[in-house]
Amino acid sequence: MRVYDARRLAAVGLDTAIVMSLAIEGGIEDVRGAVDDDDLPSAFESAVEVLSSLAMMRHLLDGGLRSFGLRRLALLGATDDEVLAVIAALPPAIDATPEVVEELLARAQREAADIRAAMPFDIPALRKPDGLFKGLRVAKSLEALRARVGVPPFDWTLIGEPHGERDPRSSAD
Protein backbone atom coordinates (compact mmCIF):
# COMPACT_ATOMS: atom_id res chain seq x y z
CA MET A 1 0.00 0.00 0.00
CA ARG A 2 1.26 3.45 -0.81
CA VAL A 3 0.07 6.72 0.65
CA TYR A 4 0.29 9.97 -1.28
CA ASP A 5 0.19 13.54 -0.02
CA ALA A 6 -3.02 14.82 -1.64
CA ARG A 7 -2.08 18.50 -1.55
CA ARG A 8 1.34 17.86 -3.05
CA LEU A 9 -0.09 15.61 -5.75
CA ALA A 10 -2.69 18.27 -6.53
CA ALA A 11 0.05 20.92 -6.69
CA VAL A 12 2.53 19.02 -8.88
CA GLY A 13 0.49 16.35 -10.68
CA LEU A 14 -0.35 18.40 -13.77
CA ASP A 15 3.13 19.88 -14.00
CA THR A 16 4.57 16.39 -13.76
CA ALA A 17 2.29 14.99 -16.46
CA ILE A 18 3.02 17.88 -18.82
CA VAL A 19 6.79 17.85 -18.31
CA MET A 20 6.98 14.06 -18.58
CA SER A 21 4.94 13.90 -21.75
CA LEU A 22 6.12 16.98 -23.61
CA ALA A 23 9.65 17.76 -22.43
CA ILE A 24 10.93 14.32 -21.47
CA GLU A 25 9.24 11.80 -23.71
CA GLY A 26 9.03 14.35 -26.53
CA GLY A 27 12.72 15.03 -25.98
CA ILE A 28 13.58 11.33 -26.06
CA GLU A 29 11.82 11.15 -29.43
CA ASP A 30 13.87 14.14 -30.59
CA VAL A 31 17.05 12.25 -29.67
CA ARG A 32 15.97 9.20 -31.64
CA GLY A 33 14.92 11.28 -34.65
CA ALA A 34 18.26 13.10 -34.74
CA VAL A 35 20.19 9.81 -34.38
CA ASP A 36 18.23 8.33 -37.29
CA ASP A 37 19.09 11.46 -39.27
CA ASP A 38 22.82 11.05 -38.42
CA ASP A 39 22.68 14.43 -36.70
CA LEU A 40 24.64 13.51 -33.58
CA PRO A 41 25.20 17.05 -32.23
CA SER A 42 21.42 17.69 -32.21
CA ALA A 43 20.78 14.26 -30.67
CA PHE A 44 23.37 15.01 -28.00
CA GLU A 45 21.95 18.46 -27.21
CA SER A 46 18.41 17.03 -27.04
CA ALA A 47 19.65 14.36 -24.62
CA VAL A 48 21.32 16.99 -22.42
CA GLU A 49 18.05 18.90 -22.41
CA VAL A 50 16.12 15.76 -21.36
CA LEU A 51 18.53 14.99 -18.52
CA SER A 52 18.20 18.56 -17.26
CA SER A 53 14.40 18.31 -17.40
CA LEU A 54 14.51 15.03 -15.47
CA ALA A 55 16.63 16.66 -12.77
CA MET A 56 14.18 19.56 -12.60
CA MET A 57 11.34 17.03 -12.38
CA ARG A 58 12.86 15.47 -9.25
CA HIS A 59 12.84 18.89 -7.62
CA LEU A 60 9.29 19.41 -8.84
CA LEU A 61 8.15 16.21 -7.14
CA ASP A 62 9.78 17.47 -3.94
CA GLY A 63 7.57 20.56 -4.11
CA GLY A 64 9.68 22.65 -6.49
CA LEU A 65 8.66 24.75 -9.43
CA ARG A 66 8.30 23.77 -13.08
CA SER A 67 11.09 25.57 -14.87
CA PHE A 68 12.97 25.46 -18.10
CA GLY A 69 15.86 27.33 -19.62
CA LEU A 70 17.68 29.75 -17.36
CA ARG A 71 15.40 29.38 -14.37
CA ARG A 72 16.00 25.63 -14.47
CA LEU A 73 19.73 26.31 -14.63
CA ALA A 74 19.36 28.53 -11.55
CA LEU A 75 17.46 25.77 -9.76
CA LEU A 76 20.06 23.12 -10.57
CA GLY A 77 22.89 25.46 -9.62
CA ALA A 78 21.25 26.60 -6.38
CA THR A 79 20.87 22.99 -5.28
CA ASP A 80 24.26 21.71 -6.52
CA ASP A 81 22.35 19.18 -8.60
CA GLU A 82 24.69 16.45 -9.82
CA VAL A 83 23.28 16.61 -13.34
CA LEU A 84 25.28 19.80 -13.96
CA ALA A 85 28.50 17.94 -13.20
CA VAL A 86 27.37 15.02 -15.38
CA ILE A 87 26.75 17.41 -18.27
CA ALA A 88 30.01 19.28 -17.68
CA ALA A 89 31.92 15.99 -17.93
CA LEU A 90 30.55 15.30 -21.41
CA PRO A 91 32.56 16.05 -24.56
CA PRO A 92 31.70 19.04 -26.77
CA ALA A 93 28.53 18.39 -28.79
CA ILE A 94 30.51 18.45 -32.03
CA ASP A 95 32.44 15.37 -30.82
CA ALA A 96 29.35 13.39 -29.76
CA THR A 97 29.57 9.73 -30.73
CA PRO A 98 26.69 7.25 -31.13
CA GLU A 99 27.93 5.52 -27.96
CA VAL A 100 27.78 8.71 -25.88
CA VAL A 101 24.30 9.54 -27.17
CA GLU A 102 23.07 5.98 -26.51
CA GLU A 103 24.42 6.15 -22.98
CA LEU A 104 22.63 9.45 -22.33
CA LEU A 105 19.45 8.07 -23.85
CA ALA A 106 19.58 4.93 -21.69
CA ARG A 107 20.07 7.04 -18.57
CA ALA A 108 17.16 9.29 -19.54
CA GLN A 109 14.86 6.32 -20.16
CA ARG A 110 15.82 4.75 -16.83
CA GLU A 111 15.16 7.95 -14.90
CA ALA A 112 11.89 8.59 -16.75
CA ALA A 113 10.70 5.06 -15.91
CA ASP A 114 11.52 5.64 -12.21
CA ILE A 115 9.49 8.83 -12.13
CA ARG A 116 6.56 7.20 -13.91
CA ALA A 117 6.63 4.37 -11.40
CA ALA A 118 6.51 6.83 -8.51
CA MET A 119 3.32 8.51 -9.79
CA PRO A 120 -0.11 7.29 -8.63
CA PHE A 121 -1.63 7.64 -12.10
CA ASP A 122 -0.63 6.75 -15.66
CA ILE A 123 0.82 9.72 -17.47
CA PRO A 124 -0.64 9.75 -21.00
CA ALA A 125 1.42 10.62 -24.05
CA LEU A 126 -0.22 13.96 -24.74
CA ARG A 127 1.09 14.31 -28.27
CA LYS A 128 0.04 10.86 -29.50
CA PRO A 129 -3.26 10.10 -31.21
CA ASP A 130 -4.48 7.94 -28.32
CA GLY A 131 -3.11 10.18 -25.58
CA LEU A 132 -4.85 13.48 -26.13
CA PHE A 133 -8.23 12.59 -24.63
CA LYS A 134 -6.63 10.57 -21.84
CA GLY A 135 -4.66 13.71 -21.06
CA LEU A 136 -7.81 15.79 -20.88
CA ARG A 137 -9.27 13.30 -18.39
CA VAL A 138 -6.14 13.48 -16.23
CA ALA A 139 -6.24 17.28 -16.36
CA LYS A 140 -9.91 17.36 -15.40
CA SER A 141 -9.46 15.01 -12.46
CA LEU A 142 -6.37 16.84 -11.17
CA GLU A 143 -8.09 20.21 -11.47
CA ALA A 144 -10.93 18.74 -9.40
CA LEU A 145 -8.43 17.50 -6.80
CA ARG A 146 -6.80 20.96 -6.69
CA ALA A 147 -10.17 22.57 -6.02
CA ARG A 148 -11.03 19.93 -3.40
CA VAL A 149 -7.85 20.41 -1.35
CA GLY A 150 -7.61 24.17 -1.82
CA VAL A 151 -4.83 24.46 -4.41
CA PRO A 152 -5.43 27.37 -6.87
CA PRO A 153 -6.34 26.39 -10.46
CA PHE A 154 -3.47 25.43 -12.76
CA ASP A 155 -2.03 28.35 -14.73
CA TRP A 156 -2.39 27.08 -18.30
CA THR A 157 -1.13 30.38 -19.70
CA LEU A 158 2.43 29.48 -18.69
CA ILE A 159 2.50 26.37 -20.90
CA GLY A 160 4.76 27.13 -23.82
CA GLU A 161 6.68 29.90 -22.03
CA PRO A 162 10.30 28.96 -22.81
CA HIS A 163 11.50 29.36 -19.21
CA GLY A 164 8.29 28.33 -17.51
CA GLU A 165 7.80 31.89 -16.28
CA ARG A 166 6.12 35.03 -17.55
CA ASP A 167 8.48 36.85 -19.90
CA PRO A 168 9.01 40.39 -18.52
CA ARG A 169 9.26 41.64 -22.09
CA SER A 170 5.98 40.09 -23.27
CA SER A 171 3.93 43.16 -22.29
CA ALA A 172 5.48 44.88 -25.31
CA ASP A 173 3.88 42.34 -27.72
Binding site: D39, A74, G77, A88, P92, I94, L132, P152, R169, S170
Partner: protein, 316 residues
Protein backbone atom coordinates in the same frame (compact mmCIF):
# COMPACT_ATOMS: atom_id res chain seq x y z
CA UNK B 1 15.85 25.92 -50.98
CA UNK B 2 13.17 24.37 -48.76
CA UNK B 3 9.94 23.51 -50.55
CA UNK B 4 6.81 22.28 -48.74
CA UNK B 5 6.97 19.01 -50.69
CA UNK B 6 10.56 18.35 -49.67
CA UNK B 7 9.98 19.42 -46.06
CA UNK B 8 6.89 17.22 -45.64
CA UNK B 9 8.67 14.29 -47.31
CA UNK B 10 11.03 14.34 -44.31
CA UNK B 11 8.17 13.06 -42.16
CA UNK B 12 6.79 10.84 -44.92
CA UNK B 13 3.84 12.96 -46.06
CA UNK B 14 2.85 15.24 -48.93
CA UNK B 15 1.12 18.58 -49.40
CA UNK B 16 -2.16 16.97 -50.62
CA UNK B 17 -2.23 14.74 -47.52
CA UNK B 18 -1.93 17.77 -45.22
CA UNK B 19 -4.59 19.58 -47.26
CA UNK B 20 -6.94 16.63 -46.99
CA UNK B 21 -6.37 16.41 -43.22
CA UNK B 22 -7.10 20.06 -42.61
CA UNK B 23 -9.98 20.29 -45.12
CA UNK B 24 -12.10 23.43 -44.88
CA UNK B 25 -9.93 24.82 -42.09
CA UNK B 26 -7.62 25.94 -44.87
CA UNK B 27 -10.35 28.35 -45.99
CA UNK B 28 -9.67 30.42 -42.85
CA UNK B 29 -6.41 31.86 -44.16
CA UNK B 30 -3.21 31.45 -46.11
CA UNK B 31 -1.44 28.29 -44.96
CA UNK B 32 2.28 28.40 -44.23
CA UNK B 33 4.53 25.59 -43.10
CA UNK B 34 6.68 26.91 -40.25
CA UNK B 35 8.99 25.40 -37.65
CA UNK B 36 11.99 23.13 -37.94
CA UNK B 37 10.83 21.43 -41.16
CA UNK B 38 10.37 24.77 -42.91
CA UNK B 39 13.74 25.93 -41.57
CA UNK B 40 15.40 22.90 -43.15
CA UNK B 41 16.34 21.42 -39.78
CA UNK B 42 13.70 18.80 -39.02
CA UNK B 43 13.83 15.03 -39.10
CA UNK B 44 11.46 12.05 -39.15
CA UNK B 45 10.09 12.77 -35.67
CA UNK B 46 9.44 16.48 -36.24
CA UNK B 47 5.98 17.99 -35.90
CA UNK B 48 4.30 19.59 -38.89
CA UNK B 49 3.61 23.19 -37.82
CA UNK B 50 1.12 25.18 -39.86
CA UNK B 51 0.30 28.86 -39.42
CA UNK B 52 -2.98 29.93 -40.99
CA UNK B 53 -2.70 33.63 -41.65
CA UNK B 54 -6.02 35.45 -41.85
CA UNK B 55 -7.59 38.86 -41.37
CA UNK B 56 -9.59 38.07 -38.23
CA UNK B 57 -8.33 38.99 -34.75
CA UNK B 58 -7.08 35.92 -32.86
CA UNK B 59 -7.17 35.41 -29.11
CA UNK B 60 -4.52 33.09 -27.68
CA UNK B 61 -1.84 31.22 -29.57
CA UNK B 62 -2.44 27.63 -28.49
CA UNK B 63 -2.24 25.22 -31.44
CA UNK B 64 -5.02 22.91 -32.52
CA UNK B 65 -3.56 19.43 -32.75
CA UNK B 66 -4.19 16.98 -35.61
CA UNK B 67 -2.45 13.75 -36.50
CA UNK B 68 -1.15 12.25 -39.72
CA UNK B 69 -0.44 8.72 -38.53
CA UNK B 70 1.86 9.32 -35.54
CA UNK B 71 2.98 12.73 -36.80
CA UNK B 72 1.60 15.73 -34.92
CA UNK B 73 0.20 18.50 -37.09
CA UNK B 74 -0.14 21.72 -35.07
CA UNK B 75 -2.27 24.46 -36.58
CA UNK B 76 -2.16 28.00 -35.21
CA UNK B 77 -4.39 30.82 -36.44
CA UNK B 78 -2.45 34.03 -36.97
CA UNK B 79 -3.87 37.51 -37.35
CA UNK B 80 -2.11 39.19 -40.27
CA UNK B 81 -1.99 42.37 -38.20
CA UNK B 82 0.27 40.61 -35.68
CA UNK B 83 2.82 40.05 -38.43
CA UNK B 84 2.61 43.70 -39.46
CA UNK B 85 3.01 44.76 -35.83
CA UNK B 86 6.10 42.60 -35.44
CA UNK B 87 7.62 44.05 -38.62
CA UNK B 88 6.87 47.60 -37.47
CA UNK B 89 8.61 46.89 -34.15
CA UNK B 90 11.83 45.75 -35.82
CA UNK B 91 14.84 47.94 -35.02
CA UNK B 92 16.30 50.60 -37.26
CA UNK B 93 19.68 50.76 -35.56
CA UNK B 94 22.26 48.01 -35.18
CA UNK B 95 25.95 47.43 -34.62
CA UNK B 96 28.41 44.82 -35.88
CA UNK B 97 28.69 41.79 -33.60
CA UNK B 98 30.12 38.28 -33.80
CA UNK B 99 30.65 38.36 -37.56
CA UNK B 100 27.13 39.71 -38.08
CA UNK B 101 24.89 42.37 -36.62
CA UNK B 102 22.91 43.04 -33.46
CA UNK B 103 20.17 45.58 -32.77
CA UNK B 104 20.36 48.35 -30.23
CA UNK B 105 17.38 48.90 -27.98
CA UNK B 106 15.20 46.41 -26.09
CA UNK B 107 15.17 42.77 -27.18
CA UNK B 108 11.91 41.37 -28.55
CA UNK B 109 10.04 39.13 -26.13
CA UNK B 110 10.84 35.41 -26.32
CA UNK B 111 7.52 34.81 -28.05
CA UNK B 112 8.28 37.53 -30.60
CA UNK B 113 11.75 36.03 -31.22
CA UNK B 114 10.21 32.63 -31.79
CA UNK B 115 7.59 34.04 -34.16
CA UNK B 116 10.21 36.07 -36.01
CA UNK B 117 12.31 32.93 -36.53
CA UNK B 118 9.28 31.02 -37.75
CA UNK B 119 7.94 33.73 -40.03
CA UNK B 120 11.34 34.44 -41.58
CA UNK B 121 11.61 30.77 -42.56
CA UNK B 122 7.92 30.14 -43.38
CA UNK B 123 7.11 28.35 -46.61
CA UNK B 124 3.72 28.80 -48.28
CA UNK B 125 1.98 25.43 -48.34
CA UNK B 126 0.44 25.59 -51.78
CA UNK B 127 1.94 28.28 -53.94
CA UNK B 128 5.38 29.77 -54.30
CA UNK B 129 5.55 32.95 -52.27
CA UNK B 130 8.15 34.63 -50.08
CA UNK B 131 8.39 34.03 -46.32
CA UNK B 132 5.95 35.98 -44.16
CA UNK B 133 8.78 38.28 -43.09
CA UNK B 134 11.98 38.75 -45.10
CA UNK B 135 15.06 37.64 -43.17
CA UNK B 136 16.63 41.05 -43.79
CA UNK B 137 19.08 43.00 -41.64
CA UNK B 138 16.38 44.35 -39.30
CA UNK B 139 15.03 40.86 -38.59
CA UNK B 140 18.50 39.39 -38.10
CA UNK B 141 19.54 42.26 -35.81
CA UNK B 142 16.41 41.90 -33.67
CA UNK B 143 16.87 38.17 -33.34
CA UNK B 144 20.53 38.61 -32.40
CA UNK B 145 19.57 41.15 -29.74
CA UNK B 146 17.25 38.56 -28.23
CA UNK B 147 20.16 36.13 -28.07
CA UNK B 148 22.44 38.75 -26.47
CA UNK B 149 19.76 39.44 -23.86
CA UNK B 150 19.66 35.73 -23.09
CA UNK B 151 23.46 35.54 -23.00
CA UNK B 152 23.66 38.33 -20.41
CA UNK B 153 21.19 36.41 -18.25
CA UNK B 154 22.97 33.07 -18.76
CA UNK B 155 26.23 34.74 -17.75
CA UNK B 156 24.55 36.09 -14.62
CA UNK B 157 23.51 32.59 -13.59
CA UNK B 158 26.86 31.04 -14.49
CA UNK B 159 28.64 33.65 -12.34
CA UNK B 160 26.21 33.11 -9.44
CA UNK B 161 26.73 29.34 -9.55
CA UNK B 162 30.47 29.93 -9.81
CA UNK B 163 30.40 32.12 -6.72
CA UNK B 164 28.35 29.80 -4.53
CA UNK B 165 29.21 26.22 -5.49
CA UNK B 166 32.28 24.36 -4.32
CA UNK B 167 31.70 21.61 -6.88
CA UNK B 168 33.83 22.24 -9.95
CA UNK B 169 31.53 20.02 -12.02
CA UNK B 170 28.42 21.98 -11.05
CA UNK B 171 30.21 25.21 -11.89
CA UNK B 172 31.23 23.68 -15.24
CA UNK B 173 27.59 22.91 -16.01
CA UNK B 174 26.71 26.56 -15.52
CA UNK B 175 29.49 27.72 -17.83
CA UNK B 176 28.56 25.14 -20.45
CA UNK B 177 25.11 26.72 -20.64
CA UNK B 178 26.70 30.15 -21.02
CA UNK B 179 28.82 28.76 -23.87
CA UNK B 180 25.69 27.58 -25.67
CA UNK B 181 24.09 31.01 -25.20
CA UNK B 182 27.25 32.56 -26.64
CA UNK B 183 27.08 30.37 -29.74
CA UNK B 184 23.40 31.23 -30.20
CA UNK B 185 24.42 34.91 -30.38
CA UNK B 186 26.95 34.21 -33.14
CA UNK B 187 24.54 32.02 -35.08
CA UNK B 188 21.72 34.54 -35.01
CA UNK B 189 23.95 37.55 -35.64
CA UNK B 190 25.10 35.79 -38.81
CA UNK B 191 21.56 35.33 -40.08
CA UNK B 192 20.26 32.00 -38.77
CA UNK B 193 17.23 33.33 -36.92
CA UNK B 194 15.20 30.18 -36.31
CA UNK B 195 14.88 29.66 -32.54
CA UNK B 196 15.35 26.21 -31.04
CA UNK B 197 18.10 25.22 -28.57
CA UNK B 198 18.26 21.62 -29.75
CA UNK B 199 19.19 22.79 -33.25
CA UNK B 200 22.02 25.05 -32.06
CA UNK B 201 24.86 22.90 -33.37
CA UNK B 202 23.14 22.09 -36.67
CA UNK B 203 22.61 25.80 -37.25
CA UNK B 204 26.24 26.58 -36.37
CA UNK B 205 27.49 23.91 -38.78
CA UNK B 206 25.11 25.03 -41.54
CA UNK B 207 26.38 28.62 -41.46
CA UNK B 208 29.92 27.34 -41.82
CA UNK B 209 31.43 27.98 -38.38
CA UNK B 210 34.78 26.28 -38.06
CA UNK B 211 34.73 22.85 -36.40
CA UNK B 212 37.69 23.63 -34.13
CA UNK B 213 35.96 26.79 -32.95
CA UNK B 214 32.77 24.82 -32.24
CA UNK B 215 34.86 22.35 -30.26
CA UNK B 216 36.23 25.16 -28.12
CA UNK B 217 32.80 26.74 -27.60
CA UNK B 218 31.33 23.32 -26.78
CA UNK B 219 34.14 22.81 -24.29
CA UNK B 220 33.46 25.97 -22.27
CA UNK B 221 33.46 24.96 -18.60
CA UNK B 222 35.01 27.97 -16.80
CA UNK B 223 34.93 31.77 -16.87
CA UNK B 224 38.31 31.78 -18.60
CA UNK B 225 37.35 29.35 -21.36
CA UNK B 226 34.15 31.34 -21.83
CA UNK B 227 36.10 34.59 -22.23
CA UNK B 228 38.43 33.02 -24.81
CA UNK B 229 35.51 31.65 -26.82
CA UNK B 230 33.69 34.99 -26.68
CA UNK B 231 36.77 36.84 -27.90
CA UNK B 232 37.19 34.34 -30.72
CA UNK B 233 33.57 34.75 -31.79
CA UNK B 234 33.75 38.54 -31.60
CA UNK B 235 31.43 39.04 -28.62
CA UNK B 236 32.57 41.74 -26.17
CA UNK B 237 33.17 41.07 -22.51
CA UNK B 238 29.74 41.44 -20.86
CA UNK B 239 29.61 42.02 -17.10
CA UNK B 240 26.25 40.67 -15.94
CA UNK B 241 26.59 42.30 -12.53
CA UNK B 242 26.31 45.64 -14.32
CA UNK B 243 24.11 44.65 -17.26
CA UNK B 244 21.40 42.56 -15.63
CA UNK B 245 18.64 43.56 -13.27
CA UNK B 246 16.42 41.57 -10.94
CA UNK B 247 12.72 42.14 -11.19
CA UNK B 248 10.45 40.84 -8.43
CA UNK B 249 7.88 38.38 -9.68
CA UNK B 250 4.20 39.35 -9.83
CA UNK B 251 3.41 36.21 -7.84
CA UNK B 252 5.06 37.20 -4.56
CA UNK B 253 3.45 38.81 -1.54
CA UNK B 254 4.79 39.77 1.88
CA UNK B 255 3.47 37.69 4.78
CA UNK B 256 4.15 37.75 8.49
CA UNK B 257 4.47 34.63 10.62
CA UNK B 258 4.63 35.35 14.34
CA UNK B 259 6.17 38.77 13.69
CA UNK B 260 8.78 37.41 11.32
CA UNK B 261 8.53 38.76 7.75
CA UNK B 262 8.59 36.41 4.76
CA UNK B 263 7.65 36.53 1.11
CA UNK B 264 5.19 33.99 -0.21
CA UNK B 265 5.95 32.88 -3.79
CA UNK B 266 3.25 31.37 -6.01
CA UNK B 267 1.23 30.48 -2.89
CA UNK B 268 3.84 27.74 -2.46
CA UNK B 269 7.23 28.74 -1.06
CA UNK B 270 7.94 30.85 2.00
CA UNK B 271 11.23 32.72 1.66
CA UNK B 272 13.05 34.97 4.10
CA UNK B 273 12.05 38.55 3.43
CA UNK B 274 15.57 39.54 2.38
CA UNK B 275 15.15 37.30 -0.66
CA UNK B 276 12.88 40.00 -2.02
CA UNK B 277 15.55 41.02 -4.51
CA UNK B 278 15.13 43.91 -6.90
CA UNK B 279 17.32 46.17 -9.01
CA UNK B 280 20.92 45.87 -10.14
CA UNK B 281 22.24 42.30 -9.91
CA UNK B 282 25.64 43.35 -8.58
CA UNK B 283 24.11 45.43 -5.78
CA UNK B 284 21.80 42.63 -4.72
CA UNK B 285 24.61 40.06 -4.74
CA UNK B 286 26.59 42.41 -2.49
CA UNK B 287 23.59 42.79 -0.18
CA UNK B 288 22.38 39.19 0.23
CA UNK B 289 25.04 37.03 -1.44
CA UNK B 290 25.00 34.90 -4.61
CA UNK B 291 23.31 31.92 -2.97
CA UNK B 292 20.25 33.93 -1.93
CA UNK B 293 19.96 35.64 -5.31
CA UNK B 294 20.19 32.32 -7.14
CA UNK B 295 17.57 30.79 -4.84
CA UNK B 296 15.25 33.74 -5.39
CA UNK B 297 15.52 33.23 -9.17
CA UNK B 298 15.16 29.43 -8.93
CA UNK B 299 11.98 29.66 -6.87
CA UNK B 300 10.40 32.31 -9.06
CA UNK B 301 10.66 35.20 -6.59
CA UNK B 302 12.54 37.24 -9.19
CA UNK B 303 13.28 37.20 -12.89
CA UNK B 304 16.29 38.51 -14.75
CA UNK B 305 16.05 41.34 -17.22
CA UNK B 306 18.84 43.00 -19.16
CA UNK B 307 19.47 46.69 -18.55
CA UNK B 308 18.90 47.90 -22.13
CA UNK B 309 20.85 51.20 -22.12
CA UNK B 310 23.82 49.56 -20.35
CA UNK B 311 23.77 46.64 -22.78
CA UNK B 312 23.61 49.08 -25.73
CA UNK B 313 26.67 50.82 -24.36
CA UNK B 314 28.55 47.53 -24.02
CA UNK B 315 27.70 46.59 -27.61
CA UNK B 316 28.70 49.90 -29.22
Amino acid sequence: MVTPERALATVGYSVPEVQELLGSLLDDGDAYLVGSLAAGLGNTTSDVDIHLVGDEPVTGSAPTMFFLGETVVDVVLIDRNDIDRLVRALPSEWVPLAGGICALGPAPSRKAQSRLGRWCTAVALTEASPPLIPADAAAVAASARGAVDELAQALAIAHLIDARSEDVGVRGGGWRAAGCALLEVAVRARGSVFVGPKWLWSKAISIGLDEELLRRVGGVRTADTFRSAAAELGVPDLDPFELVQLRPSDSIEPVDVNSRPFILVNDQHLLDADLHVSGNLGDEVDRVGPDSVLTAIALGAATLLANDPALDEALR
